[in-house]
Symmetry: C2
Subunit: 359 residues, 2 copies
Amino acid sequence: MWKYGNALPVANSSAIVSLNEGNTPLLKARLYPRCEVFLKNETVNPTGSHKDRALSIGITKALEFGFDTCMLYSDGSAALSSAAYAARAGIRNITLAPAGTPESRLLPLMIYDSIVLEYQGSGAEALAWVHEACQSLGIYETTTYRRANPYESEGPKTISYEIAEDLGRVPDWVVVPVGGGGTLSGIWRGFVELKQRGVTTKLPRMAGVLPAGYRLLELGMQQGAANNDDLRQLGGFEAPESAQAKIAMTFPPDGLEAIAAIRDSGGLFLYASDAEALAAQQRLGAREGIYAEVSATAPLVAIDQLIGMGLVEKEQQTVAIISGSGFRETGELGRSLAVKKNAISQSTGIADLKRLLHL
Amino acid sequence: MWKYGNALPVANSSAIVSLNEGNTPLLKARLYPRCEVFLKNETVNPTGSHKDRALSIGITKALEFGFDTCMLYSDGSAALSSAAYAARAGIRNITLAPAGTPESRLLPLMIYDSIVLEYQGSGAEALAWVHEACQSLGIYETTTYRRANPYESEGPKTISYEIAEDLGRVPDWVVVPVGGGGTLSGIWRGFVELKQRGVTTKLPRMAGVLPAGYRLLELGMQQGAANNDDLRQLGGFEAPESAQAKIAMTFPPDGLEAIAAIRDSGGLFLYASDAEALAAQQRLGAREGIYAEVSATAPLVAIDQLIGMGLVEKEQQTVAIISGSGFRETGELGRSLAVKKNAISQSTGIADLKRLLHL
């Protein structure tokens, strides 16, 4: 992605901390033969998600500023990225994860030699705690939302640049999973900047997809929330538990920017139930050959809805951001999926096999 | 990798089944500041290993020949690749896995909608069984060794092409994990062909690394085994259980070609104990930011040995093939590694944190 380095907030291009993140495939989807749907396959990034773009910038800045330790709050993709890029840079990484994070998500952090702290308390509390601790101790904060780290927020712009370059145009729709809100708003900003620079002439409509029940941002948009306090006052309802762990955030820290991107682009928020997202995960694997984490397959559910609403026309181009790899979550896959297998041996004949395979 | 399509055995370049495999990063290793060691990071392929190169070719050929079903014997990387590329091509995939394969390795095959058969019996028996079943039933065999599928064997050549292009020269050493032997011999063939075509003038020395105790190929080389029967007669000894599952093969089906590559290149076979490979896995994560499966970190152990033997000189270039991602094996990581974590909460003060972090 560093071929777009001019558009990224880095002073010295020879001191970049990189594992060759970005430059990911844009694959024509077989799942929608009647539409022009493309899959931006972010699962092939070095730690398996688009967060590597953000952390390549973030850890580069940490070195630029002279820090020797970084810390973030995350139980997911950003935690892996921060740990991996800190390792590559030779600085110390501290992950603050919510209590109860599955072992299978923490084990890779041990390989990257991250310190792991488990936070007993709400996500909002943890974000405040880690922010204060970083300030007090002179630790570089790598939590991926704008107020914590404005440089990392520029990472998703490179997704837009790559899409525009690969398609040779700006798509009509870009469909993005919304957790904290920063990925969607960063991608939107990327397209806005391309237009401002005269590289392109149009802008896409943005669709943000969240787990069913996570309606805070839509409420905020409808009621014209002007700041985070406004948004917080709308948040009194209970958001359900969700298998779409990485986008099930009760208070998205970059939510206001995501609302602005949806509003300014003429887009909308859409919702995926767990059952829909799990079915989409299976469809994406079985038809496209991509194993994505369940949160990253929600865009397919949203595209079905856009098509159902008549909002995507035949000649239009839609890009789904497949943000993270499923291989990082196989440990949790067993809850929703069983292995079907048949035992055979040397004595299993061809006739037996034919019967087994219904040939 | 299909920019090298001219060198690959495919008739119609518009009918290629691809997920944008290959074109993987070649990273300068921080672990060896005094030598020029590079890491060929194959973990970022679509299903997390270099086998995607082989199967992109294999499944393309399956379509070219008009097959609608493919089958292979594998419990590891090739199984994922075959299932993913078959899904992308819209044909049926059957995986024959050894009985006792961990669930965490089979679950992703369910996502790719592969049929899974578990074979009760030895690997050699299973290879024979699957070969015969494919012949009898008109199923395309995608097992990745030369006799089963000669097209797939051309995949590793593209690793050599990329290395030569990225370095601007041929390295002095290429260090490759050896399971079936086809990856090492394919990479060697790639360099030989570059020389034959006049693109390069020199050849690398090849080092093959196996789990400690897996000395069949070295014995075969020493005793001049001329065919697989010769090799089989040397194989009476017991090879130990190994955590390096993907390269712990008692009878490598492409072993003779691997022997030839080592001999012709003036190379050697080297060995990694499980303890050494696990330590290398940790080192690779903690210092380079790459989470590789333990089998794929054995090349670091071999490089240490080459340096210790005085076989790698300062100005020489060595490339380690990091063949597969660790994210696919996190389920097994828990056996060798525990998560170290400290509990904190809102009441944990800065002084407590300083103590915890030994600041």
